[in-house]
C-alpha cells in the first residue's frame, strides 16, 4: 500500500537533487493528466464530469479513512451542504459568478465540518461512524424540511453561468475543463497534504494513536483539521456537481450516498491516492452501463456482489492490489 508513496518520496528526492529524469509515477500522473485533457473528445463530457465529481468526493472521504483511519458514515451531509448552498445562491442570484457560488458551498461544508468534527473526533471506530451517521441524518431531515431545498422535489434550474464573464459554461466541453481544473487542483492539494509533515502525523495517528500522543502530538487538533479538510473537499465536490447537473436533490443527503462513497473508495483502494478515482470511475461507469442494459433492474445486486467479492478476495482494492503486485515483483527482481 505504501509503495507508491515511498516511490514518490524517493522520486521527489532524486528529482530535487541530482537527476531531473521523470520517475515512473510522474509519467503515470502526466499520462493521466493528458488523458483527462483528451477524454471529452472521445467520451460523453457530462458522464466524465460526473465521474470527476464523485472521484473528488471519494478522494475527500479517502483522506479521512485512508490516511487518518477514521471511517465517516456521514459524508453525504457535506456533499449535500455544498450542493444546496451553491444551488440556492446561483438560482436565486442569477448574476452570481459560478466560482463564488462554488466557494460559498465549500465554505458552508467547512463550517459544518468544523461543528461535526468537533463532536465526532472524540470517539473512535464504530462510535465515530455512528456519530457521523446520526449527525448526517439530522442534516437530511433539515434538508427535507427547509423551504429553500424544495424538499422531495429538489432544487432545480440552477444556471451554469459564465466563468469570469469570458467562458460560457453552458457548453459541455468548456464546463468539463473547468471541472477538470477543480479536480486537478483538489487532487494536488490532497497529495500535498498526504506527503507533508502534517500528513505524516496523520498516518502516525492512523497506525497508533496513543504512541502519537506520547510523542507529544495534539492528535485531536490534527484529526479535526483533517476532518474539516475532508468535509470541505466533499462540499467542493457537491458544489461542482450542482453546477454540472444544474440541480441539487435529496439523494445527495441520504445515507445511501455515504454508503456509495465507501463502496467507491474500498473498490478502488483505500489509502491510495488514485484508488478513489478508479473506484468512482468503475461504480459510475457500471451504474451508467447497467442502467440502460437489459440487466437494468439488477444494478444494485450486481454492485453489491462486486463489493462482496472485493472485500473477500482483494481487500486493498484495485489500485492497492496493483501496488502490492508491483512491490512483490520488485522484491523478486532484487533477489
Amino acid at each position: 500500500m505504501a509503495v507508491l508513496e515511498q516511490e514518490q518520496e524517493r522520486g521527489a528526492a532524486s528529482a530535487g537533487k541530482a537527476s531531473r529524469r521523470i520517475t515512473p509515477l510522474g509519467a503515470l500522473y502526466l499520462g493521466l493528466f493528458v488523458l483527462g485533457l483528451l477524454a471529452p473528445w472521445v467520451a460523453y463530457p457530462v458522464f466524465l464530469m460526473k465521474i470527476l465529481c464523485f472521484a473528488l468526493f471519494a478522494s475527500a472521504f479517502n483522506l479521512l479513512l485512508g490516511f487518518v483511519g477514521l471511517l465517516s458514515f456521514g459524508h453525504a451531509a457535506f456533499l449535500a451542504t455544498g450542493a444546496y448552498i451553491t444551488g440556492f445562491l446561483l438560482a436565486e442570484y442569477p448574476g452570481l459568478s459560478p466560482v463564488l457560488g462554488i466557494m460559498a458551498g465549500t465554505l458552508g461544508a467547512v463550517v459544518l465540518g468544523t461543528l461535526f468534527g468537533a463532536l465526532a473526533i472524540r470517539r473512535q471506530g464504530i462510535y465515530f461512524a455512528m456519530v457521523t451517521l446520526a449527525l448526517a441524518q439530522m442534516m437530511f431531515f433539515f434538508f427535507v424540511q427547509a423551504p429553500f431545498t424544495h424538499g422531495e422535489d429538489g432544487l432545480h434550474g440552477v444556471p451554469r453561468g459564465e466563468l469570469f464573464g469570458l467562458f460560457d459554461l453552458k457548453n459541455n466541453h468548456t464546463l468539463y475543463y473547468f471541472v477538470f481544473a477543480i479536480f486537478v487542483a483538489a487532487f494536488v492539494l490532497i497529495r500535498r497534504v498526504v506527503h507533508s509533515p502534517f500528513g505524516q502525523v496523520l498516518k502516525a495517528i492512523r497506525e497508533n494513536e496513543p504512541r502519537a500522543i506520547s510523542l507529544g502530538y495534539h492528535t485531536d487538533a490534527y484529526k479535526l483539521v483533517a476532518f474539516v479538510l475532508s468535509a470541505g473537499l466533499a462540499g467542493l465536490a457537491g458544489a461542482t456537481k450542482t453546477l454540472v447537473f444544474q440541480l441539487a436533490s435529496l439523494g445527495d443527503a441520504s445515507w445511501h450516498m455515504s454508503g456509495e462513497v465507501i463502496l467507491m473508495t474500498l473498490l478502488g483502494g483505500v489509502g491510495t491516492l488514485l484508488g478513489p478515482l478508479v473506484g468512482s470511475g468503475l461504480v459510475i461507469g457500471l451504474q451508467h452501463q447497467l442502467a440502460q442494459s437489459a440487466l437494468g433492474d439488477w444494478v444494485s445486486v450486481i454492485l453489491g456482489a462486486i463489493f462482496v467479492i472485493c472485500v473477500l478476495s482483494f481487500r486493498s482494492g484495485i489500485v492497492g492490489e496493483c501496488q502490492r503486485w508491483l512491490e512483490k515483483r520488485k522484491e523478486r527482481d532484487e533477489v
Binding site: 424540511q145 436533490s249 447497467l290
Partner: protein
C-alpha cells in the same frame, strides 16, 4: 440546422394539406418561414422522398424506477406497456422504425437528468416517457425544455409539474395530487363524512396535500377536528392511529404516500379503526399498494384513481392482454404509458414529423380517445384532463379474484377534478384563465 429541417419537412406535405401546414408553421414561433420558400421547396423536390423524421427513426426513451420503491407502479411493466403501444402501432411510423430505449433512474434526479441529457446529446431522442419520482420528472422536464425535446410524465404525483414547473415541452398524463385530494375529499364530504382527522407526512409534499384537503373539506361544509404530522418516513404509527381514534372524527385522512401509507393502513387495521366506525381516506394509493396490503387490511378505504382495469369491456380486454404478458394487472400509470405513447405516435404519423413543437401542437388539438381516457384534452399547461374515478376497496367477501379490488362509486368529470386554469401559476397560461 433548424431551418433546413423545417424546410425539408414542409416539402413532403401533401398539397391538400399544404395550406394548413403553412398556416400552422407561421403561427408557431421560430418555425415561421417565408411562404415563398416553402412553396419553392415543394416545387424543387416534388416526388423526392424526404426525411421528415430525424435520423429516419422515431426514438422513444423510457425512464423510470426499475429496481426501487416504484418498481411495481411503473417499472418494467410500464416499459412493456410502452412496447405494447409500439407493437400495436405496427413497429413503425410512416415506414420509419420506432426504437425504444430504457433506463433505470434509481429515483435519483442526478441519474435521471444525466441519462436524458445523454439520450438527447448522443442518441437524438424524440420523446421521453415513464417518469415517476417527482424530483426526477422536474429535473428531466427542465432539460427537455432546454434541449427542445418532448416528454410525457405518467407516474409523478406532484401537481406542480404542470403548475409552477410547467414547460411547453412536457405533458402530465395520468393523475396528480390535485384531483386525488379534491376528488376523494369532496366526494366523502358530500356523502356525509364531514368531520376529518388528518395524518400528514411532515415535509413539503404532505403539507401541500394537507392544505388541499383542508380547503376542500371546509369549503364543502365539513370540519377538521384534528391533525397530526409524522416524520418522513415513519414505521411505527400506533400513537398516531390511537390519537385518530380518540379524535372522534368520522374520517381519518392519510396525507402521505408509499411506505408511510402502507404502514399507517396496516396499523389502523391492527387497531380496528374501521371496525370501530371510522373510515379511512387514502390520498395517494395505487392498485399495487392495495394488492400488496390485501383486502383484509385495505377494505373500506376510499380513494381516487385515474383508471382501473375493470371499468368496461375495452379496459378489460387491454388489461387481459397485459396480464398475459406480465402476470399482473396494470396500474393506472402503466395504462397511461400505453395510452400516451399511442397518442404520441398517432400525432407523429399525422404530422409526419418528430419535431417537438409540431407533434406537441398536434397532440394538443386531438382529443384522447382510447381505453384509458374518453375525450381527454391536453391543456396548454401540459395537463391531460380526463375523468377520474372515486373507488372503494372491496371487502374480501365481495371480491371475486386476486385483482378484483375496487368498487367504482363515482366518475368525477375531468373539468371538475383537475385544477382550473384560472388558478394556475403556469407561466404559459397565466392571465388567460
Amino acid at each position: 440546422m433548424h431551418a433546413t429541417a423545417n424546410a425539408s419537412r414542409k416539402v413532403s406535405c401533401k398539397p391538400s394539406r399544404l395550406s394548413r401546414h403553412i398556416s400552422s408553421a407561421l403561427r408557431v414561433r421560430r418555425r415561421a418561414l417565408p411562404l415563398s420558400a416553402a412553396l419553392l421547396g415543394t416545387l424543387l423536390s416534388a416526388g423526392v422522398a424526404q426525411a421528415d423524421i430525424s435520423d429516419d427513426t422515431v426514438k422513444i426513451g423510457y425512464l423510470a424506477d426499475m429496481s426501487g420503491t416504484y418498481r411495481d407502479l411503473a417499472g418494467p411493466g410500464g416499459l412493456d406497456a410502452l412496447k405494447m403501444a409500439v407493437e400495436d402501432f405496427g413497429g413503425s411510423v410512416n415506414g420509419k422504425p420506432i426504437e425504444v430505449l430504457s433506463a433505470d433512474d434509481r429515483n435519483s434526479a442526478d441519474v435521471g437528468a444525466n441519462t436524458v441529457r445523454g439520450w438527447i446529446d448522443q442518441q437524438n431522442i424524440d420523446m421521453v416517457g415513464g417518469l415517476v419520482a417527482s424530483s426526477v420528472s422536474i429535473a428531466v422536464t427542465r432539460i427537455l425544455a432546454e434541449q427542445d425535446t418532448l416528454g410525457i410524465v405518467s407516474g409523478s404525483a406532484a401537481s406542480s409539474i404542470t403548475n409552477e414547473h410547467c414547460t411547453p415541452n412536457h405533458i402530465h398524463w395520468v393523475y396528480d395530487t390535485y384531483p386525488l385530494a379534491n376528488g376523494t375529499a369532496k366526494a366523502i364530504v358530500d356523502e356525509g363524512g364531514d368531520s376529518w382527522f388528518l395524518l400528514t407526512a411532515d415535509y413539503a409534499f404532505g403539507h401541500a396535500l394537507e392544505g388541499d384537503v383542508e380547503k376542500v373539506v371546509t369549503e364543502n361544509g365539513g370540519t377538521i377536528v384534528g391533525k397530526i404530522r409524522h416524520p418522513f418516513p415513519t414505521s411505527d404509527f400506533s400513537s398516531y392511529i390511537l390519537q385518530a381514534q380518540g379524535s372522534g372524527a368520522k374520517i381519518v385522512g392519510l396525507a402521505n404516500a408509499g411506505s408511510d401509507t402502507v404502514n399507517a393502513l396496516t396499523t389502523a387495521s391492527q387497531f380496528g379503526l374501521v371496525q370501530s366506525g371510522q373510515s379511512l381516506a387514502g390520498l395517494l394509493i395505487f392498485l399495487n399498494d392495495v394488492h400488496a396490503l390485501g383486502l383484509n387490511v385495505a377494505q373500506g378505504l376510499q380513494l381516487t384513481t385515474g383508471w382501473y382495469w375493470d371499468l368496461n369491456e375495452e379496459t378489460r380486454a387491454w388489461s387481459q392482454r397485459y396480464y398475459e404478458r406480465n402476470e399482473r394487472m396494470p396500474t393506472m400509470v402503466q395504462a397511461g404509458i400505453y395510452s400516451s405513447t399511442l397518442h404520441y405516435l398517432n400525432a407523429v404519423a399525422a404530422t409526419d414529423s418528430d419535431d417537438t413543437a409540431t407533434v406537441r401542437a398536434k397532440m394538443g388539438e386531438t382529443p384522447v380517445n382510447d381505453m384509458f381516457a374518453k375525450n381527454g384534452i391536453i391543456r396548454a399547461d401540459g395537463r391531460m384532463v380526463h375523468d377520474m374515478y372515486l373507488v372503494k376497496v372491496k371487502s374480501p367477501s365481495e371480491s371475486t379474484g386476486e385483482w378484483d379490488v375496487y368498487d367504482v362509486i363515482r366518475t368525477i368529470p375531468g373539468q371538475e377534478a383537475y385544477r382550473p386554469l384560472a388558478d394556475s401559476q403556469c407561466a404559459l397560461v397565466k392571465g388567460q384563465g
